[in-house]
């Protein structure tokens, strides 16, 4: 402790880029220092790859002539579970700020809320993207290997698209969850809304291919995982629909963080 700093005049505000990188580093330290966060990130990979491989392994004995069988989609079956881990990761990262005044501490270190929100969202999104890339490629390679003769190569139609697309899909779902959590300020509320939505709605809606169901964030985004998507949307437009959902949630969350008292 030196007395000299005590009388120093505060400098002109640091430039936004420098504050952003510092804030992003802080967010990274926050993730790294929580076992549960690191755990959910790992779970993204483990669930996506593991369950995908399991489905492919079991499917191997089945008939080749199965109607509607999509070898590509089969290896991404685990993504249904991986996305829950990704959402849980995003939700806990944001909801921990809304406990016991944690946000106040964060905002006394990063008072510009735009910088804070952008850094947090970017770090969560970036980490999910990285985990998603690992999960996507590993799920594809493991799954197709297990499918044996029916298996696809990376050079086959839609294979690379699905590998990258699955990572982007996970990222968008995580961002969707980030925005909702910032808006509702409660992890429990978001998880109890999103998880049933993701697990139940597909079964209820089932194969009702047409109509509004196509535009649900998960249904639209998962088209990128199919070799021959049977939908009114294409694989990339499907992902774009998910991106719109994510963007809407992120913007809504931003408005809430900016306007509300901490």
């Amino acid at each position: 402790m030196s007395a000299s700093t005590a009388t120093a005049v505060p400098p002109v505000s640091a430039d936004p880029v420098a504050s952003f990188t510092a804030a992003a580093r802080s967010e990274w330290v926050k993730v790294r220092s929580l076992r549960s966060s690191v755990g959910s990130l790992l779970a993204v990979v483990v669930a996506t790859v593991g369950i995908g491989a399991l489905v492919c392994a079991v499917d191997d004995g089945g008939g080749d002539s199965e109607a509607g069988f999509d070898a590509l989609f089969a290896s991404f079956y685990g993504l249904n579970f991986g996305q829950i881990a990704a959402i849980a990761f995003a939700v806990t990262a944001f909801s921990s700020e809304f406990h016991n005044g944690a946000l106040r501490v964060s905002l006394t270190a990063v008072p510009r809320r735009g910088v804070f929100y952008a850094a947090k969202t970017a770090v969560v999104g970036g980490l999910v993207l990285a985990a998603g890339l690992v999960a996507g490629f590993a799920a594809f390679l493991a799954g197709q290997h297990l499918l044996g003769a029916k298996g696809l190569e990376l050079s086959d139609l839609g294979a690379l698209r699905a590998c990258f697309g699955s990572a982007v899909y996970l990222t968008l779902m995580a961002l969707f969850a980030c925005g909702l959590t910032a808006l509702l300020r409660s992890g429990v509320a978001v998880l109890s809304m999103l998880i049933p939505f993701l697990l139940i709605v597909p079964f209820v809606m089932g194969d009702l291919a047409a109509g509004a169901a196509d535009y649900l964030p998960d249904k639209a985004g998962q088209l990128v995982l199919q070799q021959n998507p049977d939908s009114s949307l294409g694989p990339w437009t499907g992902l774009a629909v998910t991106a719109v959902w994510a963007l809407a949630a992120v913007v809504a969350g931003w408005v809430a963080v900016r306007r509300r008292d901490a």
């Binding site: 402790m1 030196s2 007395a3 700093t5 005590a6 009388t7 120093a8 005049v9 505060p10 400098p11 002109v12 505000s13 640091a14 420098a18 504050s19 510092a22 804030a23 580093r25 802080s26 990274w28 330290v29 926050k30 220092s33 929580l34 076992r35 549960s36 921990s96 406990h99 016991n100 005044g101 944690a102 106040r104 501490v105 964060s106 905002l107 006394t108 270190a109 990063v110 008072p111 510009r112 008292d261 901490a262």
Partner: protein, 310 residues
């Protein structure tokens, strides 16, 4: 100068004015006690200064600029608002590292701050396992992290053991002696009296007093002298002649309102009165505070006194 300034600061929650046109300036080099009952608006005022809540009206600055405009704010302002704010699953050290990273403060400072607050031994323990006193110390460590010129601590002695209370008192005095601006809120009078040089008193959102502590006490409590003599009756008549109004007690004791020992001693000596005891009865901050709030309640209740004969 790194002072905290509030100008007409007002915060309304619906119809309630939590902070009502508050104007003050907290100067460096002394400990300013921010006093008031729970719900008086102390924490809200601190949140307004830190840009955590948006004022309904008025402005607040730290070192002449709004808090949100500070680059690397932890290097200028250290704040403790809520000891529970640290994430329970994080270690004490990691909690500080998240803050250090945000303001490019070297990681070594985390260790120093923990050392300074007596938490070095539990640096790698999860905050969940901490007692309230330890969390309070961690909150103070976070405030000291950036070696800031301004400190704002909301009820820092909450949950501290007697040893901790002595520690915080000495810490606050030292920080002020180093030329820092120190604002400490409390609802505990004797606590505040033990470290504050200056007082801001808040009641129902309004600033009731802004004065040096000594002057505050003197302004609100009449000084008294306690004395005891072998000839209380004679002493009494001497005092009455001198214009005092002594109150006689048992065993030759008496108290003399509005007097100072330095005046009464010579007076008794002139009359050859044997004095066994003579002392100024020092008024406490508590008495002064209660006197002030009594005036305030009276004032506030006056217009509707007929309406609510209780």
């Amino acid at each position: 100068m790194t002072c905290i300034e509030a100008n007409g600061l007002t915060k309304e929650y619906g119809a309630v004015r939590a902070v009502d046109r508050v104007t003050f300036s907290v100067e460096p080099g002394r400990v300013t006690g921010f006093l008031g009952p729970n719900g008086a608006g102390k924490s809200t005022a601190m949140c307004l200064v830190l840009g955590l809540s948006r004022p309904t009206a008025g402005t607040a600055t730290v070192g002449g600029r709004p808090f949100a405009g500070l680059g690397q704010p932890l290097r200028h302002v250290g704040a403790l608002l809520d000891a529970q704010a640290a994430h329970g699953s994080r270690t004490a050290r990691d909690h500080l590292l998240t803050l250090a990273a945000a303001n490019r403060i070297p990681a070594a400072r985390a260790g120093e701050a923990l050392e300074e607050t007596g938490l070095a031994g539990v640096a790698r323990r999860r905050v969940r396992t901490f007692s309230l006193g330890m969390r309070q110390r961690l909150g103070i460590a976070a405030a000291l992290l950036g070696d800031p010129g301004v400190l704002m601590l909301d009820e820092p002695s909450n949950g501290l053991d007697p040893e901790g209370i002595i520690w915080i008192r000495e810490l606050l005095r030292r920080l002020a002696a180093e030329g820092r601006t120190v604002l400490v809120s409390s609802h505990l009078m004797s606590e505040t009296a033990s470290y504050a040089d200056h007082l801001l008193v808040l009641g129902k959102g309004r600033l009731l007093a802004d004065s040096p502590m000594r002057a505050f006490i003197d302004a609100h409590v009449q000084p008294r002298v306690r004395l005891r003599s072998t000839e209380p009756e004679r002493l009494r008549s001497v005092l009455l002649r001198a214009g005092y109004e002594p109150e006689l007690g048992e065993d030759g004791r008496m108290t003399v309102p509005g007097a100072r020992a330095a005046r009464l001693g010579p007076l008794a000596a002139e009359e050859n009165l044997p004095v066994l005891e003579l002392a100024n009865d020092e008024a406490t901050l508590e008495e002064a505070y209660l006197a002030l709030t009594a005036d305030e309640t009276q004032f506030a209740a006056a217009p509707s006194v007929l309406a609510q004969e209780v």
